[in-house]
Amino acid sequence: MRLVTAILIYFSATALADTVLVSLEKDNALAIVDGQSLSLIQTIKIGRRPRDIKLSPDLAKIYVAASDDDAIQVLDARTYQVLGTLPSGKDPETFAIDPKGERLYASNEDDNQVTVIDLNSSQAIKTIPVGVEPEGIAVSPDGRWVVSTSETTNMVHWIDPVTLEVAHNTLVDPRPRAATFTPDGKQLWVTSEIGGTLTILDTASKETVKKLKFSIPGVNQTLVQPVGVLVDQNRRYGYVALGPANRVAVIDAQKLEVIDYLLTGKRVWQMAFTHDGKMLFTTNGASHDITAIDTQKLKPIKSIAVGHYPWGVAVKP
């Protein structure tokens, strides 16, 4: 009886812990890290040059962009078995899934287009021409907008998911890399790698609310290259990964001011929250590890070696 209780406790404890999934660009693999013990559990071979990674809204599937295989792989989120591939078009790097889990939008950097995939039929239903080198992509929480950022055209393209046409364009600073909506859907945050800035746009008017420039004492300004961006559920803090500056900027998401820079590994790239939002994981491409950040204390607590060139990260509850 005692043993059964012990087992039950053990299972409930592991069930609570998140699993951190990290795509390894140069190992062609997925690293699986235990969110509780913060240790690498397993590495699984997947498609070639895996980059963006996301879970389906029902948490049953994992999608990974296998760039060199020109496809998005679909994995079972429990067994990590490859279930199939999606026709993402050439060299998929980043993608976004709508809140209902019906569609996936993938950026095709080489072809200046966004591919729309119907997730029920696993068919590409449309390609939408956008600017040169589309990179960042996001769907608003209410599903009203899909945005695509193009790195060489320096624009945010607002795509209407009903017509699947570009409805608006907003010019932003040079080389926009990533975009994310605030969880309330009211703002779109866009990072500019070469501009060294974060542009915060108002979703309703598509106008700039504020532009934040990052500068870190003792770090050369040219190394400050904002890439990944996330805002927490309560819109208390926003986080911007600053690439080779090896830091994550913390932003007061109400006042829209930078309040801190947290040291991570080298070339910090993408980020993901744990499901309770208490921890943030960053991928550090050039130091081959991920950093766990305590979002209550705003302190990095541990770096975990995962494999060569960690690119994307997703957290499975």
Partner: protein, 386 residues
């Protein structure tokens, strides 16, 4: 012949031009291939530069779809015995004000000083000569190709960091070789390096049978850390690596070469540009192609940001500190106000690898580390009123 075709084309497109269409011209000239048979594995394309401009126009137009601006290129590559001034004259007559020039320095200056050049902007995409950024600088010329001094300083910084401080300088016989050698001498002085020997290469270029013995003998009797070859026409430099008397590396125009662009460069998204170029041109992107692409993209970026295709706002934007041109080298690029040179990192490349990207870490500058390459504001001989 080509002029008639050009005029017909001009009339056609200028008359059909509507709204915000910006015309950009390109003038180049065919070149003779002087390289010996063993050094010509890579062909010498006659469209060097032009294809980069074409890709820039494509990129500008993709952006232009969203801003209702369109860009058109008028390209002229004249024969070796033709005077590019005629092409320039006709382009100016048709009102084209942004003109990319891929010509030797003297011919570029002749165009820039001609009465037709008034109220136009020339973009140097083919001449490395430091005098164009120095005593012979012109207010109506911008340079998107780096200078000899920028390339030499990139090598100087890297070799200083490696502590390969004793240089054996080998300039070739051509004027461009002498100019690059002068730039290397300046860099050596700047970074506290020592030229322990300087010996011009005067031997036959076609060393098919004798290069092995010739280079060995040529480099005998000197103690040095590294050979610095200045062979801008690619006539003999390829024979130096592995053939020196002492086991020493080679740098300069060959061996570890300083260049604006290289097929092995893939960082900072560069692979996208390499792929786009290869798809368009069917060959690898060269420094002149990159310089031309940059010039067209700079104009496009100015047109997007100023929301205008008019000459004056574009010119003012390009020369302002507003320009932050992404050039796939990890940092924003801009024009130096004192000499019109586009600041840019320089790649240090071996045949199939990027060894380093200058400015090398640790070479500091009070305002912009890109200004550790080439002539800084305090050193310039160019004093322009723009």
């Amino acid at each position: 012949m080509w002029i008639c075709a050009l005029i017909a084309f001009l009339c056609l497109c200028l008359s059909s031009a509507y709204g915000q269409t910006l015309f950009i011209a390109y003038i180049g000239q065919e070149r003779a291939d002087l390289r010996p048979a063993t050094a010509n594995i890579e062909p010498l394309p006659q469209d060097l530069g032009l294809r980069g401009a074409e890709l820039g126009i494509e990129d500008n137009n993709t952006t232009g779809r969203f801003t209702n601006q369109s860009f058109r290129l008028l390209g002229a590559v004249v024969k070796q015995d033709e005077d590019p001034a005629r092409a320039f004259y006709f382009l100016r007559q048709e009102g084209v004000r942004h003109i990319l020039v891929n010509l030797p320095a003297a011919k570029l200056l002749a165009l820039a000083d001609s009465p037709e050049a008034k109220d136009s902007l020339l973009y140097n995409v083919g001449a490395y000569d430091d005098r164009l950024r120095g005593k012979d600088c012109r207010a109506n010329v911008l340079h998107t190709l780096p200078s000899h001094a920028m390339r030499a300083d990139a090598i100087g910084q890297y070799l200083k960091k490696k502590r390969w401080e004793k240089w054996f300088l080998v300039p070739g016989p051509w004027p461009q070789d002498q100019l690059f050698a002068e730039a290397l001498k300046r860099s050596a002085k700047r970074f506290g390096l020592k030229i322990v020997a300087a010996k011009p290469w005067t031997h036959t270029y076609d060393a098919r049978r004798t290069a092995e013995s010739e280079v060995a003998v040529f480099t005998q009797g000197v103690d040095y850390d590294v050979v610095l070859v200045a062979d801008e026409a690619d006539l003999f430099g390829a024979y130096f690596p592995y053939r020196t008397w002492l086991p020493r590396p080679v740098a300069g125009s060959h061996g570890l070469a300083a260049t604006a662009w290289h097929p092995a460069h893939e960082q900072w998204g560069a692979v996208q540009l390499q792929n786009r170029f290869r798809k368009l041109a069917g060959r690898r992107m060269q420094p002149e192609d990159y310089a031309a692409w940059l010039a067209v993209r700079a104009i496009g970026e100015a047109a997007t940001r100023t929301q205008s295709t008019d000459f004056t706002p574009i010119r003012e934007y390009l020369l302002s500190d507003q320009l932050a041109l992404p050039g796939f080298k990890g940092v924003p690029l801009s024009f130096r106000p004192w000499d019109g040179q586009l600041r840019q990192p320089i790649l240090l490349a071996s045949a199939y690898d990027i060894v380093a990207v200058a400015p090398i870490e640790g070479f500091l500058h009070p305002t912009n580390e890109l200004d550790t390459l080439g002539y800084d504001a305090r050193e310039t001989e160019c004093h322009l009123k723009r």
